[in-house]
Amino acid sequence: MRLILPPGMKAAAFDRARQALRRVVGAQWVLDTDEDRETYIDPYAVGTGAAHAPSGAVAPASVEELQAVLRVANEFRLPLWPISRGKNLGYGGASPRMPGTMVLDLGRLNRILEVDEKLGYCVVEPGVGFFELHEHLTKNRIAMEVGIPGNGWGSVLGNALERGFSFRGDHSESICGLEVVLPGGELMRTGMGAMKNGVTWATARHGFGPSWDQAFVQSNFGVVTKMGLWLHPTPEEVITLRVALDQPDDIGWYMDALAPLRLRGVVNGNVQLTTYMMTVIDSTQRADWYQGRDSLPDSVIARIRAERGLGWWNGTVRVAGYADVNEGNLKRVQAALSKHSGREYPFTRTLSAQTPSRGPTVGPLKVANWYGGRGGHMSFSPVVPAVGSAVVAQFQRTRARYIEHGIDYSSTWYLNGRTVTNINLLLTNMDDADLTARGDRLFHALVKDAAAAGYGEYRTHLSYMDEVADTFSYNDHALRRFNERVKDAIDPNGILAPGRNGIWPAAWRKERGKV
């Protein structure tokens, strides 16, 4: 892809900045050929990806090099977008929000610095992937686990900075202690790490005074170079209930039955419930079932379900811990469910000592092939209260919009104790302009509907960041104004990740809303 400069930046200044970066990291780690730029374009971009095209990438090998890179960026007002492994597929991949921003690829900082089995934490650098951490834990027989996203290709640290999650819940809640390079190049540690010799950096969450870890999550206030992350002890036994629900609205009683048990820790992982689609989507393509341009009709849904023996909703409930405790918890789950359905559900028992944990996979990426061609998808992810009637209403509203736009409805619901996060897949074939345009219109409609109901998204794709940020509008966008006051104070040149999550520095504020 040809070079796109940051808005307003002169080619001569850009060239001088590139030269200065080469002196810092070595010529081979400034990646700015046409082909390099292509490799950083979001593979699932809406349209060509030009709206979020980087001008290149720079890849420092140490914190010292990174600090020097930030000083160069400030000198030339070159905007940078940090990524850890850049596998943020469905939300923008490795691409920056604003075109012309240079990607700051931290993949070369890839050490696992510490794993403490007794206290249950690790300290990692940005480039450490789920595969590497899992391998390290398994090889060293450390009976600790990390929450792994469906797409396990990415970075442990990068995923937590996006509030990624799994059945283990919101991964950002496991963050404890960060090392951050501030936009000006200064190195800082949070919490107990702010002491010269802080021993409980990755175990005590808050240190002394304000607690800043979460301020670096989904923000553009600093580049995170080390992260303490709490690990989950491998349970003695895992019981997995398999549930299939026959009717679309069954999701309501189901959430009502399980939310209290999740809140009380009887069920100690997010409950997951997903449409029939998720099960066929990774082994068949749409054309195997249906040729029409409209949303899959009920008759086809019925055929898919019959052939595969699926419920309209399919899910798992996980009861994990010591076997004797599990026994009582399992009874409570079965009782709560059978009160509504009049039946008990099948389950499997796994003893961790005998069965190694499954580890990361990239299997779910297969969903991108559903429509064929250059496949892709985005996720629309509102957070709904853990109340059956609210869940049913949100589900019906969303599905009606999918049908209206002629797109196949597919979603997964993750029940936490108090909320349900609803990941709706917008699958597409990027070679099909009409389908992609309908998907885009559908996304806008969904953001609007959810906002009208008082529900915000937990995370969104680059192209919709401003739109979603706009829905957080209490008192004339007081929160955004506060975020941007902080931004301007710590990043006066506005060089770090302009536009991330709708936070624009003064230097680029006029770019808001442009996609």
């Binding site: 292509e38 490799t39 950083y40 990438a57 290709w153 996979t361 299997g363």
Partner: protein, 110 residues
Amino acid sequence: MRAMNLVAVAAVLMSGLSTAAAAAEPDGKALYARRCGICHFADGGGTWMLERRLGKSQALLESRADLQAPYIRLIARRGLNGMPRFTRVELPDSDLEIIAAYLTRSGPRP
């Protein structure tokens, strides 16, 4: 076809000749497993989609004899349908060359 490749590779290894392909073999296999195997081993999305497009005999990249290094390089950097592109940070040119040598060890070389 597949059996023949295995025989050919075994012959090279046993003869103790350090041809480029044979020398690259252990490294290449491990690198391929790490960077490509997650999609191109038996259950992977790459294998699945290649089977759909080219048939079962062409589905597993590792046992093919028709792949050429320039094509492998091109696909790794440009992507193909459901296969995303690799950056030179994740997969430096030197690693890609080793993988390409591994995948063409028993097939035509440019």
